[in-house]
Symmetry: C2
């Protein structure tokens, strides 16, 4: 989104409130209700998103006045950041508000560690804008190697980065992959590999070169930047294959990429990749690759609980392959990690991935 | 260390054991005792390291046989990795051992999350070798921007990376900065910035260009790779200035870079940078920069406890500046974060750092 559009949206919010005041009404702020009851699975596009229920916040309400005032202050500060053409973290935003408004700011609300941030989510949802467009930086994580050329206009200069020439490091996925940044790729697919250590192994094997693919690790749960990049790659019609552990955490990382999660449903389709496929590892693999039989490990309570939960989600339990695999975890009380594929031979992993993709052996 | 030397060291260990067996003695393995009581602060070089006490492990001991056998197995597997010219994580090592040795492997001992890993530490200390030289990858974290040219020979190809042309992302510090990788820099100093969000802010201001410095963030606590890189930069006579929060975590990150920590003392001088200086933020800053007075936050119990502990370490309490600052935290029950410097103006941070360095206003 252009800075101009972002400013117009922020100013629109302010102008509406001014009008209300001029009419001697209390200012209000309408946003979509971000609760579990207003979270829906959108069959059409295949992702979790917020439903249509709205919430009206009123300044002239004892319960809402403080948050209301802070929301308006956040809007004003981010408008200033855009005008200055500078970017800041939400922690910096907290200190700017504290400087302007004094002590009446809830520090915990602006913690960088916090996945969601009520005030900023309010603005994102109400204005149909992403926090990145408000010049707010988010936690960045995730690395890419392979045939991609990035043009990054940043801090007044343009850099060209070649994803095939980044050695052992790869290109670090930034907080914002939309504004003043562009890329071209000749890859034929994307492999998303849960763990950075496994990414390093595949990078050493030059897997991306042999396969002409993009090798991406989110380093665990995907950052916003990584999810946006995957969405943009899927928009370019590249298949997105996910290679994760067969356990609670691996499944969660996959489904967050694919449909979003309950907590992040407000992000909707901008951050979801319904096209994503789960190529492994799966409980089915233990049958197919006999050496894995001695390399399973005990499923923990969190794995069993998560499998149970997932079996209850209609967008998951409609897939018989997922039901079979999740039930196998529950009945055997075992799980398997992607690293287990290296038990016999370090270089086996690449062969496994190729076989899976060529044979279309994936879970939906 | 060359692969040849690493293999010689591993084979030396094996040969010694074979000799013992030939003499009809039980095989033994001598390593340095890694306990708090054998941790010393080395006045001469200015870092924490292990003392001279040794520990003799015996295979023919009910208590030690299992660990002993696993240590030998780790040595054998890492020798295999070096011969194959492949790198693996300690999680992969766990699966390779599990495949060879079966169930008798302690999974938790090989968790990637674990800072220290008893079996591998044994080998590192006993053989005087780094795990990176054994082709084991470690968690990588940390980013660099600025005038540095990296030559990275990896996976059979050489890449040249220019630290001034990495846009918003920077160059990701790899797990191993010693083997098959080299760099040149024209920077006049190194700024180590605790938080990635602050690094992004300074990178946007092109601070490294204006100052001709290297801008590094460890992203919190430093990885082994980041600590080694800082050691190598200090060896090139570059001053290392650290810019951290004035709180328990910031101090810990600084002192780990400078002297090592109690838990990581076995790493000794290869990973310590006694030359490092702490440029801020400090409690003294609150006097000097008046706008900070409204931007302090409440010190938590962990901060107060840590300040107390640090006042007890002779290598810290010998510095009156540290004593004064730590006592101020204890008496005011307040602390201050690096982000607070952005409260009035986002771009103030760069000016602050320049003033501090030019005025030599740092803590030792």
């Amino acid at each position: 989104m252009s800075d101009k559009t972002a400013i117009e949206k922020l100013e629109g919010l302010g102008k509406k409130m001014v009008k209300e005041i001029e009419k001697e009404e209390g200012p209000t702020f309408e946003t979509t209700l971000r609760t579990k009851s207003n979270t829906i699975y959108d069959e059409g596009v295949g992702c979790l998103r917020m439903g249509d229920k709205k919430e009206l916040r009123k300044f002239l309400s004892v319960a809402q006045a403080r948050t209301f005032m802070q929301t308006v202050a956040v809007a004003a500060k981010t408008k200033k950041f855009i005008k200055e053409d500078l970017h800041a973290s939400i922690r910096s935003l907290f200190y700017q508000l504290k400087f302007s408004l004094g002590e009446d700011i809830d520090e915990d609300m602006f913690s960088e560690q916090q996945e969601s941030n009520a005030l900023i989510e309010d603005l994102e949802v109400a204005l149909g804008i992403k926090r990145e467009d408000l010049h707010l930086t988010t936690e960045r994580k995730g690395v890419v190697a392979g045939p991609i050329i990035i043009k990054d206009k940043f801090g007044g200069e343009e850099s060209t980065i070649d994803g095939t020439a980044m050695g052992r490091s790869g290109w670090g996925i930034p907080s914002d992959v939309d504004n003043d940044i562009d890329f071209k790729t000749t890859a034929k697919y994307v492999l998303v590999c849960e763990k950075d250590a496994m990414w390093q192994r595949l990078n050493e094997d030059k897997f991306w070169k042999k396969e002409n693919c993009l090798l991406i690790t989110p380093k665990g749960q995907s950052s916003r930047g990584t999810r946006r990049l995957l969405r943009k790659l899927a928009d370019k019609k590249l298949p997105i294959y996910c290679f994760m552990d067969c356990d609670a955490w691996g499944w969660y990382i996959y489904w967050t990429i694919k449909t979003g999660s309950m907590n992040l449903a407000y992000l909707g389709m901008d951050f979801a990749v319904p096209e994503a496929k789960f190529i492994g590892v799966t409980m089915d693999d233990i049958e197919e690759f006999k050496f894995l039989q001695k390399l399973t490990i005990r499923a923990k309570d969190v794995d069993l609980k998560r499998a149970e939960e997932m079996l209850g989600y209609p967008w998951i339990n409609r897939h018989k392959e997922w039901v079979r695999n999740l039930k196998l975890v529950a009945s055997t009380k075992k799980k398997i990690e992607q690293d287990a594929l290296q038990g016999e031979r370090l270089t086996f992993v690449g062969e496994y991935i190729k076989q899976k993709i060529e044979g279309k052996e994936w879970l939906p």
